[in-house]
């Protein structure tokens, strides 16, 4: 598995445990980018020459791959520069229809990218923002939903998977509750996609966002999925080439979705690279891989239990979670821990992981995070446990 990832193949001693921040790129994705840039590079706004046609085809077929990965229609796929851009798009395009009195429900477990856009929408539009709390085990307190979802709630913005605790949201329950008050649901899939293809039709949400760099693809590209019937009514977010029909001094008309939401030259080679990563992912045996990830996560959690003063944030169960484990060690600062781990070839991140509201709820300022992906194995976990014992010694 590791050999498919050029960086990991080249750095044999590296224990990369920061895939929740950025996953390493798969060879297929890199090759696709290269192939595109050296064989099919042109802009995609319907040039009629052969190269432009090739670029168009490649870009539109990337849309198709993203659609297959999510089990949706290609016309529902909007390419963006990343998950953050996708979520901001929803906050602006869907948010444009909201007004004072309307409410948006977010959770306290959100990454800043699915939290700050709603704070900003509140400032812009005077809407009210409700916050679904997290329980001490890191799970969303879904029991509060009936009370927090009101008639005025127009949108629920939640993460599918926490980038700190690995907690997975019970999406069906949320969708069910949201439907009851007629609210739409935007799901932040940034942390979920790296653990396998998604079935959005089954999940039942209305919008979905993810980034290429977190699922073994290139950076600079992401996806917003939206239900066709929603996309075709929403106003555009950014203005520019490609998203218009007619433009004159008096105004402009909108192109059809999804191009209405893709102002300017899109990240073409990056979309093509992302498609290659998604195609590769779709070729894998996910039930088996998930089992493996769970087993590895169990081993990690077991090992962490043995480390004096260590507290895992959120659940200690290896099942029903993503293999993302954050922890604090009494008296040791995450920066210092990560520094010592780095000296042992371990790449982990310490800090607030762009989830300050969640960390506040869990009572910490910063924590150390280990996130596992399909290229990690037992040697990575063993090295981490070893490294933590070293760190405790070196730092006290």
């Amino acid at each position: 598995m590791r050999s498919g990832f050029p960086l990991l193949a080249a750095q044999a001693g590296l224990h990369y445990l920061d895939s929740a921040a950025t996953a390493q790129i798969h060879r297929d994705a890199l090759d696709a980018v290269l192939r595109h840039e050296t064989g099919s590079r042109a802009n995609v706004m319907r040039g009629t020459y052969a190269l432009a046609d090739a670029a168009d085809r490649a870009y539109e077929s990337a849309r198709g791959a993203a659609a297959r990965f999510l089990n949706v229609a290609a016309e529902e796929i909007v390419f963006t520069s990343g998950a953050t851009a996708a979520l901001n798009l929803v906050a602006h395009s869907f948010g444009a229809g909201l007004q004072a009195g309307d409410r948006v429900l977010v959770s306290q477990a959100e990454h800043h990218s699915n939290f700050v856009p709603w704070l900003m929408l509140r400032e812009r539009k005077g809407i009210a923002l409700d916050v679904l709390p997290v329980r001490p085990d890191g799970q969303l307190d879904l029991g509060r939903l009936p009370q927090l979802l009101r008639e005025e709630t127009r949108l629920v913005a939640l993460t599918q998977c926490s980038n700190v605790t690995g907690a997975i949201t019970d999406v069906a329950a949320v969708v069910d509750a949201a439907r009851r008050v007629g609210a739409r649901v935007v799901l932040d899939g940034a942390q979920a996609v790296q653990h396998g293809p998604q079935d959005l039709r089954a999940l039942g949400v209305d919008f979905y966002a993810f980034s290429g760099h977190k699922c073994f693809g290139p950076g600079g590209v992401g996806v917003l999925w939206g239900r066709a019937e929603l996309l075709c009514t929403l106003p555009p977010f950014c203005g520019g080439g490609g998203m218009v029909g007619e433009v004159n001094l008096d105004g402009f008309s909108w192109a059809e979705a999804p191009r209405r939401f893709e102002a300017g030259t899109p990240p073409i080679a990056q979309a093509v690279g992302l498609a290659a990563a998604l195609d590769w992912m779709m070729s894998l045996d996910w039930p088996r891989l998930r089992e493996r990830e769970t087993a590895l996560c169990a081993r990690l959690l077991d090992g962490l239990r043995e480390i004096p003063g260590l507290r895992v944030l959120g659940s200690m169960a290896a099942e029903g979670r993503a293999p993302i484990v954050s922890f604090e060690i009494a008296g040791l600062h995450p920066h210092d821990i990560c520094q010592v781990l780095d000296a042992h070839g371990l790449a982990l991140r310490g800090g607030h992981h762009c989830a300050q509201p969640l960390l506040a709820a869990l009572g910490v300022e910063a924590c150390t995070r280990a996130s596992l992906a399909l290229y990690n194995d037992e040697s990575d976990v063993a090295a981490l446990l070893d490294g933590l014992r070293h760190a405790a010694k070196a730092l006290r």
Partner: protein
């Protein structure tokens, strides 16, 4: 002649040059306009109808040879057609362009568009007048997809 130029068979140039049905019916029983927002091409179709069948057809087309040839051809064939026939003609052209399928006997002239098959970005050009006709008949007048 090299590829690409082969697209411009005499038949296409002739149909485009003839510009059959050029103009605008006023009053009209149905009308539709389709645009290609990416190049500004536009087809305006006006119709007179009797019991759902076309009795008069006019087109105003701003576009490339493929688009104009298609509009001109359509003008010759439209009288007598109903919505189903228009849809069938449009489908015949779509299938010709997408899959290379031979057009039905009544629409043999569509074969002049066959060389456009490998130029995907041009399919829309030839289809634009057909879409306008369908929209006019369906009584919808929304922007071309």
């Amino acid at each position: 002649m090299s590829a690409g130029a082969e697209l411009y068979q005499q038949a296409i140039k002739d149909w485009a040059g003839a510009d059959h049905g050029h103009g605008r019916l006023d009053p009209a029983d149905a009308a539709a306009r389709t645009d290609n927002p990416l190049c500004g091409d536009r087809v305006q179709v006006t119709l007179r109808l009797d019991a759902g069948r076309i009795t008069a057809f006019a087109q105003e087309t701003r576009g490339c040879l493929l688009c104009r040839a298609a509009a001109s051809l359509l003008a010759q064939r439209a009288p007598g057609m109903d919505a189903a026939a228009a849809a069938a003609a449009s489908t015949a052209l779509e299938e010709l362009l997408a899959e290379g399928r031979d057009p039905p006997p009544a629409w043999q002239d569509l074969a002049m568009f066959a060389p456009a098959r490998s130029y995907r970005s041009r399919h829309k050009c030839a289809l634009l007048p057909f879409r306008a006709l369908r929209q006019a008949l369906e009584g919808v007048s929304h922007r071309e997809q």
